[in-house]
Protein backbone atom coordinates (compact mmCIF):
# COMPACT_ATOMS: atom_id res chain seq x y z
CA UNK A 1 0.00 0.00 0.00
CA UNK A 2 2.64 2.46 1.15
CA UNK A 3 4.88 1.51 -1.76
CA UNK A 4 2.15 2.03 -4.32
CA UNK A 5 1.37 5.43 -2.76
CA UNK A 6 5.00 6.44 -3.02
CA UNK A 7 5.08 5.23 -6.59
CA UNK A 8 1.95 7.15 -7.45
CA UNK A 9 3.39 10.25 -5.79
CA UNK A 10 6.59 9.78 -7.77
CA UNK A 11 4.68 9.57 -11.03
CA UNK A 12 2.81 12.77 -10.19
CA UNK A 13 6.09 14.56 -9.46
CA UNK A 14 7.58 13.32 -12.73
CA UNK A 15 4.57 14.41 -14.74
CA UNK A 16 4.59 17.85 -13.10
CA UNK A 17 8.34 18.17 -13.77
CA UNK A 18 7.88 17.12 -17.38
CA UNK A 19 5.07 19.61 -17.92
CA UNK A 20 7.14 22.35 -16.26
CA UNK A 21 10.16 21.49 -18.42
CA UNK A 22 8.01 21.48 -21.52
CA UNK A 23 6.55 24.85 -20.49
CA UNK A 24 9.91 26.41 -19.69
CA UNK A 25 11.52 25.24 -22.93
CA UNK A 26 8.67 26.25 -25.25
CA UNK A 27 9.68 28.62 -28.06
CA UNK A 28 8.99 32.32 -27.43
CA UNK A 29 7.89 34.05 -30.60
CA UNK A 30 7.15 37.49 -32.00
CA UNK A 31 3.64 37.51 -33.53
CA UNK A 32 3.31 38.66 -37.14
CA UNK A 33 0.78 41.24 -35.95
CA UNK A 34 3.44 42.77 -33.67
CA UNK A 35 5.84 43.55 -36.51
CA UNK A 36 6.23 47.28 -37.07
CA UNK A 37 4.80 48.87 -40.17
CA UNK A 38 8.02 49.03 -42.16
CA UNK A 39 8.67 49.17 -45.87
CA UNK A 40 11.70 46.87 -46.33
CA UNK A 41 14.64 48.51 -48.07
CA UNK A 42 17.11 46.09 -49.71
CA UNK A 43 19.78 48.81 -50.03
CA UNK A 44 19.69 49.48 -46.29
CA UNK A 45 19.66 45.69 -45.87
CA UNK A 46 23.00 45.33 -47.63
CA UNK A 47 24.66 47.38 -44.88
CA UNK A 48 23.12 45.05 -42.29
CA UNK A 49 24.25 42.02 -44.30
CA UNK A 50 27.89 43.07 -44.03
CA UNK A 51 27.60 44.28 -40.47
CA UNK A 52 26.01 40.98 -39.43
CA UNK A 53 28.67 38.91 -41.20
CA UNK A 54 26.10 36.50 -42.69
CA UNK A 55 28.49 35.49 -45.46
CA UNK A 56 31.31 34.57 -43.08
CA UNK A 57 29.40 31.45 -42.09
CA UNK A 58 26.68 30.96 -44.72
CA UNK A 59 28.66 31.53 -47.95
CA UNK A 60 29.34 28.12 -49.45
CA UNK A 61 33.07 27.31 -49.13
CA UNK A 62 34.97 27.19 -52.43
CA UNK A 63 37.41 24.27 -52.74
CA UNK A 64 37.42 23.88 -48.99
CA UNK A 65 38.38 27.51 -48.41
CA UNK A 66 36.22 30.37 -47.29
CA UNK A 67 34.52 32.20 -50.13
CA UNK A 68 35.99 35.47 -51.35
CA UNK A 69 34.68 38.31 -53.50
CA UNK A 70 31.33 37.70 -55.17
CA UNK A 71 31.25 34.09 -53.96
CA UNK A 72 30.34 35.57 -50.57
CA UNK A 73 26.89 36.21 -51.99
CA UNK A 74 26.17 32.52 -52.62
CA UNK A 75 24.69 31.59 -49.27
CA UNK A 76 24.33 27.84 -49.79
CA UNK A 77 25.88 27.01 -46.42
CA UNK A 78 27.94 23.90 -45.78
CA UNK A 79 30.67 25.31 -43.57
CA UNK A 80 31.33 23.04 -40.59
CA UNK A 81 32.02 24.54 -37.17
CA UNK A 82 33.99 22.07 -35.11
CA UNK A 83 33.32 23.04 -31.49
CA UNK A 84 33.54 21.44 -28.05
CA UNK A 85 29.77 20.78 -28.32
CA UNK A 86 30.05 18.89 -31.59
CA UNK A 87 29.97 19.77 -35.28
CA UNK A 88 27.55 22.47 -36.37
CA UNK A 89 26.73 22.50 -40.09
CA UNK A 90 25.77 25.91 -41.39
CA UNK A 91 22.50 25.83 -43.36
CA UNK A 92 21.50 27.23 -46.73
CA UNK A 93 20.00 30.72 -46.32
CA UNK A 94 19.95 31.61 -50.00
CA UNK A 95 16.52 32.56 -51.37
CA UNK A 96 16.12 29.09 -52.93
CA UNK A 97 12.47 28.10 -52.49
CA UNK A 98 13.05 24.51 -51.33
CA UNK A 99 16.61 24.37 -50.05
CA UNK A 100 16.98 27.90 -48.72
CA UNK A 101 14.73 30.42 -47.01
CA UNK A 102 13.06 31.91 -50.09
CA UNK A 103 9.57 31.01 -48.91
CA UNK A 104 9.90 32.42 -45.40
CA UNK A 105 7.52 35.14 -44.30
CA UNK A 106 8.91 38.29 -42.68
CA UNK A 107 7.63 37.08 -39.29
CA UNK A 108 9.38 33.71 -39.71
CA UNK A 109 12.61 35.48 -40.58
CA UNK A 110 12.36 37.85 -37.60
CA UNK A 111 11.69 34.93 -35.24
CA UNK A 112 14.70 33.06 -36.60
CA UNK A 113 16.98 36.10 -36.30
CA UNK A 114 15.78 37.49 -32.98
CA UNK A 115 14.22 34.60 -31.07
CA UNK A 116 16.17 31.65 -32.48
CA UNK A 117 13.01 29.81 -33.53
CA UNK A 118 12.60 28.08 -36.91
CA UNK A 119 9.41 28.35 -39.00
CA UNK A 120 8.41 24.87 -37.80
CA UNK A 121 8.73 25.99 -34.18
CA UNK A 122 12.06 24.40 -33.21
CA UNK A 123 14.89 26.08 -31.36
CA UNK A 124 18.05 27.02 -33.19
CA UNK A 125 21.33 26.45 -31.43
CA UNK A 126 23.08 29.66 -30.38
CA UNK A 127 25.94 28.90 -32.78
CA UNK A 128 23.62 31.07 -34.88
CA UNK A 129 24.12 34.32 -32.93
CA UNK A 130 20.46 35.29 -32.48
CA UNK A 131 21.39 36.23 -28.92
CA UNK A 132 23.15 39.24 -30.49
CA UNK A 133 20.75 39.77 -33.39
CA UNK A 134 17.95 40.05 -30.81
CA UNK A 135 19.30 43.54 -30.06
CA UNK A 136 18.88 44.74 -33.65
CA UNK A 137 16.06 47.13 -34.53
CA UNK A 138 13.34 44.98 -36.19
CA UNK A 139 13.35 47.34 -39.17
CA UNK A 140 17.00 46.41 -39.82
CA UNK A 141 16.07 42.71 -39.77
CA UNK A 142 13.28 43.27 -42.29
CA UNK A 143 15.67 45.27 -44.51
CA UNK A 144 18.15 42.40 -44.33
CA UNK A 145 15.47 39.95 -45.48
CA UNK A 146 14.70 42.23 -48.43
CA UNK A 147 18.41 42.25 -49.36
CA UNK A 148 18.81 38.47 -49.00
CA UNK A 149 15.85 38.05 -51.36
CA UNK A 150 17.87 39.82 -54.09
CA UNK A 151 20.76 37.29 -53.93
CA UNK A 152 21.08 34.23 -56.18
CA UNK A 153 19.27 31.06 -55.04
CA UNK A 154 21.65 28.18 -54.33
CA UNK A 155 20.40 24.58 -54.39
CA UNK A 156 21.38 21.87 -51.94
CA UNK A 157 20.31 21.15 -48.39
CA UNK A 158 22.89 20.82 -45.66
CA UNK A 159 23.04 17.84 -43.31
CA UNK A 160 21.99 18.16 -39.67
CA UNK A 161 24.45 19.02 -36.87
CA UNK A 162 26.27 16.19 -35.07
CA UNK A 163 26.28 17.14 -31.41
CA UNK A 164 27.11 15.23 -28.26
CA UNK A 165 24.67 14.68 -25.38
CA UNK A 166 23.15 16.75 -23.76
CA UNK A 167 23.60 19.38 -26.48
CA UNK A 168 21.85 17.06 -28.93
CA UNK A 169 18.55 17.62 -27.06
CA UNK A 170 17.37 20.60 -29.07
CA UNK A 171 14.42 21.32 -26.81
CA UNK A 172 16.88 22.06 -24.01
CA UNK A 173 17.96 25.19 -25.87
CA UNK A 174 14.63 26.65 -24.69
CA UNK A 175 15.81 26.56 -21.08
CA UNK A 176 19.16 28.01 -22.12
CA UNK A 177 17.41 30.91 -23.84
CA UNK A 178 15.52 31.70 -20.63
CA UNK A 179 18.88 32.42 -19.06
CA UNK A 180 20.87 33.92 -21.90
CA UNK A 181 18.57 35.42 -24.55
CA UNK A 182 18.43 38.98 -23.29
CA UNK A 183 17.67 41.98 -25.45
CA UNK A 184 18.68 44.85 -23.18
CA UNK A 185 21.98 46.62 -23.85
CA UNK A 186 25.15 44.97 -22.58
CA UNK A 187 26.88 48.27 -21.94
CA UNK A 188 24.24 50.89 -21.19
CA UNK A 189 25.12 54.36 -20.01
CA UNK A 190 26.10 57.55 -21.71
CA UNK A 191 24.59 57.32 -25.18
CA UNK A 192 25.67 60.08 -27.46
CA UNK A 193 24.36 59.33 -30.92
CA UNK A 194 27.61 57.99 -32.31
CA UNK A 195 28.15 55.60 -29.41
CA UNK A 196 24.55 54.37 -29.64
CA UNK A 197 24.97 53.73 -33.37
CA UNK A 198 28.12 51.79 -32.56
CA UNK A 199 26.36 49.88 -29.80
CA UNK A 200 23.68 48.64 -32.19
CA UNK A 201 26.38 47.47 -34.59
CA UNK A 202 28.66 45.86 -31.98
CA UNK A 203 26.03 44.33 -29.69
CA UNK A 204 23.48 43.56 -32.40
CA UNK A 205 24.28 42.86 -36.03
CA UNK A 206 28.05 42.69 -35.58
CA UNK A 207 27.68 40.11 -32.77
CA UNK A 208 31.23 40.91 -31.62
CA UNK A 209 30.49 39.61 -28.12
CA UNK A 210 29.96 36.06 -29.38
CA UNK A 211 33.73 35.59 -29.68
CA UNK A 212 35.22 38.47 -27.68
CA UNK A 213 33.27 37.72 -24.47
CA UNK A 214 34.01 34.63 -22.37
CA UNK A 215 31.27 32.08 -21.69
CA UNK A 216 30.24 30.26 -18.55
CA UNK A 217 30.06 26.46 -18.32
CA UNK A 218 26.65 26.44 -20.02
CA UNK A 219 27.89 28.48 -22.95
CA UNK A 220 26.18 31.70 -21.90
CA UNK A 221 28.05 34.99 -22.13
CA UNK A 222 29.50 36.30 -18.85
CA UNK A 223 28.05 39.80 -18.82
CA UNK A 224 30.62 41.19 -16.36
CA UNK A 225 33.35 40.34 -18.84
CA UNK A 226 31.68 41.92 -21.87
CA UNK A 227 34.24 42.08 -24.73
CA UNK A 228 37.10 41.44 -22.30
CA UNK A 229 38.57 38.59 -24.36
CA UNK A 230 37.95 34.84 -24.37
CA UNK A 231 39.48 31.53 -25.39
CA UNK A 232 39.35 31.06 -29.15
CA UNK A 233 36.25 28.94 -29.86
CA UNK A 234 37.91 27.57 -32.99
CA UNK A 235 41.16 26.33 -31.56
CA UNK A 236 44.18 27.53 -29.71
CA UNK A 237 44.96 30.98 -28.46
CA UNK A 238 42.68 33.75 -27.29
CA UNK A 239 40.32 36.20 -28.88
CA UNK A 240 41.59 39.57 -27.63
CA UNK A 241 40.14 41.92 -25.06
CA UNK A 242 38.74 44.87 -27.05
CA UNK A 243 37.70 47.04 -24.09
CA UNK A 244 39.97 50.06 -23.43
CA UNK A 245 41.77 47.80 -20.93
CA UNK A 246 42.87 45.35 -23.63
CA UNK A 247 46.58 44.74 -23.90
CA UNK A 248 46.98 46.02 -27.45
CA UNK A 249 43.90 48.09 -28.10
CA UNK A 250 44.52 50.32 -25.05
CA UNK A 251 47.19 52.03 -27.14
CA UNK A 252 44.92 52.55 -30.15
CA UNK A 253 43.15 55.78 -31.01
CA UNK A 254 39.58 55.76 -32.34
CA UNK A 255 41.09 56.46 -35.77
CA UNK A 256 43.34 53.41 -35.36
CA UNK A 257 40.35 51.17 -34.62
CA UNK A 258 38.39 52.54 -37.56
CA UNK A 259 41.39 52.20 -39.88
CA UNK A 260 41.97 48.61 -38.72
CA UNK A 261 38.36 47.73 -39.54
CA UNK A 262 38.69 49.43 -42.92
CA UNK A 263 42.11 48.20 -44.03
CA UNK A 264 42.99 45.24 -41.84
CA UNK A 265 46.16 46.93 -40.55
CA UNK A 266 47.04 47.49 -36.91
CA UNK A 267 48.82 50.73 -35.88
CA UNK A 268 52.10 48.74 -36.07
CA UNK A 269 51.21 47.77 -39.59
CA UNK A 270 50.73 44.14 -38.87
CA UNK A 271 47.74 42.62 -40.65
CA UNK A 272 44.56 41.18 -39.24
CA UNK A 273 44.65 37.40 -38.76
CA UNK A 274 42.58 34.31 -38.04
CA UNK A 275 38.79 34.46 -38.02
CA UNK A 276 39.00 38.25 -37.76
CA UNK A 277 40.05 38.42 -41.43
CA UNK A 278 36.53 37.63 -42.61
CA UNK A 279 35.02 39.98 -40.03
CA UNK A 280 37.32 42.84 -41.06
CA UNK A 281 36.48 42.31 -44.73
CA UNK A 282 32.81 42.69 -43.82
CA UNK A 283 33.49 45.82 -41.76
CA UNK A 284 35.38 47.28 -44.73
CA UNK A 285 32.06 47.27 -46.61
CA UNK A 286 30.40 49.54 -44.06
CA UNK A 287 30.52 53.32 -44.23
CA UNK A 288 33.33 55.29 -42.58
CA UNK A 289 30.67 56.65 -40.20
CA UNK A 290 29.69 53.15 -39.10
CA UNK A 291 33.32 52.23 -38.42
CA UNK A 292 33.81 55.47 -36.49
CA UNK A 293 30.69 54.62 -34.48
CA UNK A 294 32.06 51.15 -33.64
CA UNK A 295 35.34 52.74 -32.53
CA UNK A 296 33.49 55.30 -30.41
CA UNK A 297 31.43 52.59 -28.71
CA UNK A 298 34.50 50.43 -27.98
CA UNK A 299 36.33 53.41 -26.50
CA UNK A 300 33.34 54.26 -24.30
CA UNK A 301 33.33 50.79 -22.70
CA UNK A 302 34.55 50.31 -19.15
CA UNK A 303 38.21 49.23 -19.26
CA UNK A 304 38.45 45.60 -18.20
CA UNK A 305 41.72 43.79 -17.67
Amino acid sequence: MLISRILRGGVVVLVVAAVAAWWITRPQMIAAADLPDHRPDPVAGERIFWAAGCASCHARPVNGKRAKGDDKLLLGGGLELDTPYGVFRVPNISPHANDGIGEWTPAEFVNAMQRGVSPDGRHYYPSFPYTSYARMPIGDVLDLKAYLDTLPPVSGRIEAHSLGFPWSVRRGVGAWKRLYLVTEPMAPGASPTLVERGRLLVEGAGHCGECHTPRDRFGGLIRDRWLAGAPNPEGKGRVPNITPGGENISEWSAADIAYYLESGFTPDFDTVGGSMVAVQENMARLSADDRAAIAAYLQALPALH
Binding site: N232, F269, D270, V272, G274
Partner: protein, 149 residues
Amino acid sequence: MSYLNSRSLVAVIALAFTSPLLAGDDPRHERHELMEGVGDAAKPIGEMLKGERDFDAGVVMMSFETFDKAAAQFGDLFPPGSETGEDTEAAPAIWEDRAGFDTALATWSDAVDAAIAAKPQTLEETKPVAGPIFDACKGCHDDYRIEDE
Protein backbone atom coordinates in the same frame (compact mmCIF):
# COMPACT_ATOMS: atom_id res chain seq x y z
CA MET B 1 84.29 11.97 -18.12
CA SER B 2 82.53 14.00 -15.50
CA TYR B 3 78.82 14.59 -15.55
CA LEU B 4 79.27 18.23 -16.50
CA ASN B 5 81.55 17.40 -19.35
CA SER B 6 79.23 14.83 -20.79
CA ARG B 7 76.49 17.45 -20.69
CA SER B 8 78.56 19.95 -22.59
CA LEU B 9 79.48 17.25 -25.06
CA VAL B 10 75.80 16.62 -25.71
CA ALA B 11 75.33 20.35 -26.11
CA VAL B 12 78.20 20.59 -28.57
CA ILE B 13 76.84 17.69 -30.62
CA ALA B 14 73.39 19.20 -30.61
CA LEU B 15 74.86 22.51 -31.71
CA ALA B 16 76.81 20.85 -34.48
CA PHE B 17 73.61 19.46 -35.92
CA THR B 18 71.59 22.61 -35.62
CA SER B 19 74.19 25.32 -36.00
CA PRO B 20 73.25 26.32 -39.55
CA LEU B 21 69.87 27.32 -38.13
CA LEU B 22 71.19 28.91 -34.95
CA ALA B 23 73.64 31.20 -36.66
CA GLY B 24 72.80 34.72 -37.80
CA ASP B 25 71.83 33.53 -41.24
CA ASP B 26 68.92 31.42 -40.03
CA PRO B 27 66.33 32.03 -42.75
CA ARG B 28 63.58 32.01 -40.13
CA HIS B 29 65.23 34.97 -38.41
CA GLU B 30 66.13 36.69 -41.65
CA ARG B 31 62.63 36.57 -43.06
CA HIS B 32 61.21 37.71 -39.74
CA GLU B 33 63.55 40.72 -39.65
CA LEU B 34 62.78 41.51 -43.28
CA MET B 35 59.04 41.51 -42.59
CA GLU B 36 59.50 43.68 -39.50
CA GLY B 37 61.32 46.16 -41.74
CA VAL B 38 58.48 46.06 -44.24
CA GLY B 39 55.99 46.76 -41.45
CA ASP B 40 58.11 49.67 -40.21
CA ALA B 41 58.25 51.08 -43.72
CA ALA B 42 54.50 50.71 -44.21
CA LYS B 43 53.71 52.52 -40.99
CA PRO B 44 54.46 56.11 -42.12
CA ILE B 45 52.35 55.62 -45.25
CA GLY B 46 49.52 54.30 -43.11
CA GLU B 47 49.80 57.28 -40.79
CA MET B 48 49.60 59.63 -43.76
CA LEU B 49 46.52 57.80 -45.04
CA LYS B 50 44.94 58.06 -41.58
CA GLY B 51 45.70 61.79 -41.51
CA GLU B 52 48.02 61.47 -38.52
CA ARG B 53 51.13 62.58 -40.35
CA ASP B 54 51.88 65.17 -43.02
CA PHE B 55 52.35 63.84 -46.50
CA ASP B 56 55.97 63.48 -47.54
CA ALA B 57 56.65 62.16 -51.04
CA GLY B 58 60.27 61.35 -50.11
CA VAL B 59 59.28 59.17 -47.18
CA VAL B 60 56.69 57.39 -49.32
CA MET B 61 59.28 56.62 -52.00
CA MET B 62 61.75 55.41 -49.37
CA SER B 63 59.12 53.01 -48.09
CA PHE B 64 58.39 51.76 -51.59
CA GLU B 65 62.15 51.15 -52.11
CA THR B 66 62.26 49.18 -48.85
CA PHE B 67 59.37 47.04 -50.08
CA ASP B 68 61.16 46.55 -53.39
CA LYS B 69 64.36 45.29 -51.78
CA ALA B 70 62.44 43.01 -49.44
CA ALA B 71 60.31 41.60 -52.24
CA ALA B 72 63.45 40.70 -54.19
CA GLN B 73 64.95 38.73 -51.27
CA PHE B 74 61.89 37.31 -49.58
CA GLY B 75 61.18 34.31 -51.80
CA ASP B 76 64.61 32.76 -51.12
CA LEU B 77 64.14 32.70 -47.36
CA PHE B 78 61.90 29.61 -47.19
CA PRO B 79 64.33 26.73 -47.88
CA PRO B 80 63.40 23.16 -46.94
CA GLY B 81 64.15 22.60 -43.26
CA SER B 82 62.93 26.01 -42.18
CA GLU B 83 59.25 25.05 -41.99
CA THR B 84 59.00 25.11 -38.22
CA GLY B 85 60.79 26.29 -35.09
CA GLU B 86 62.02 29.64 -33.82
CA ASP B 87 58.39 30.79 -33.51
CA THR B 88 58.11 31.02 -37.27
CA GLU B 89 54.71 32.17 -38.49
CA ALA B 90 55.27 30.69 -41.93
CA ALA B 91 52.36 28.42 -42.78
CA PRO B 92 52.91 24.90 -44.16
CA ALA B 93 51.03 26.11 -47.25
CA ILE B 94 54.23 27.87 -48.39
CA TRP B 95 55.89 24.51 -48.97
CA GLU B 96 52.75 22.63 -49.96
CA ASP B 97 51.75 25.23 -52.55
CA ARG B 98 54.99 26.90 -53.55
CA ALA B 99 53.57 28.07 -56.87
CA GLY B 100 50.68 29.81 -55.13
CA PHE B 101 53.08 31.43 -52.68
CA ASP B 102 55.29 32.66 -55.54
CA THR B 103 52.23 34.10 -57.27
CA ALA B 104 51.25 35.92 -54.09
CA LEU B 105 54.79 37.31 -53.79
CA ALA B 106 54.72 38.39 -57.44
CA THR B 107 51.44 40.21 -56.84
CA TRP B 108 53.15 42.16 -54.08
CA SER B 109 56.30 42.86 -56.05
CA ASP B 110 54.31 43.96 -59.14
CA ALA B 111 52.27 46.35 -57.01
CA VAL B 112 55.50 47.80 -55.58
CA ASP B 113 57.01 48.21 -59.06
CA ALA B 114 53.90 50.04 -60.24
CA ALA B 115 53.97 52.32 -57.19
CA ILE B 116 57.62 53.22 -57.75
CA ALA B 117 56.98 53.92 -61.41
CA ALA B 118 54.05 56.18 -60.49
CA LYS B 119 56.23 58.42 -58.24
CA PRO B 120 53.22 59.79 -56.33
CA GLN B 121 53.58 63.47 -55.36
CA THR B 122 50.38 63.87 -53.32
CA LEU B 123 48.36 61.83 -50.84
CA GLU B 124 45.64 61.45 -53.46
CA GLU B 125 48.17 59.96 -55.89
CA THR B 126 49.56 57.68 -53.18
CA LYS B 127 46.25 56.08 -52.19
CA PRO B 128 45.57 54.16 -55.41
CA VAL B 129 49.15 52.82 -55.70
CA ALA B 130 49.60 51.97 -52.00
CA GLY B 131 46.23 50.20 -51.87
CA PRO B 132 47.24 47.21 -54.01
CA ILE B 133 50.50 46.85 -52.05
CA PHE B 134 48.64 46.65 -48.74
CA ASP B 135 46.03 44.31 -50.20
CA ALA B 136 48.87 42.04 -51.31
CA CYS B 137 50.30 42.00 -47.75
CA LYS B 138 46.95 41.01 -46.37
CA GLY B 139 46.15 38.47 -49.08
CA CYS B 140 49.44 36.66 -48.62
CA HIS B 141 49.24 36.67 -44.80
CA ASP B 142 45.73 35.29 -45.03
CA ASP B 143 46.86 32.18 -46.92
CA TYR B 144 50.50 31.74 -45.97
CA ARG B 145 50.91 32.92 -42.41
CA ILE B 146 49.75 31.19 -39.26
CA GLU B 147 48.44 33.00 -36.24
CA ASP B 148 50.93 33.48 -33.40
CA GLU B 149 48.31 33.74 -30.63
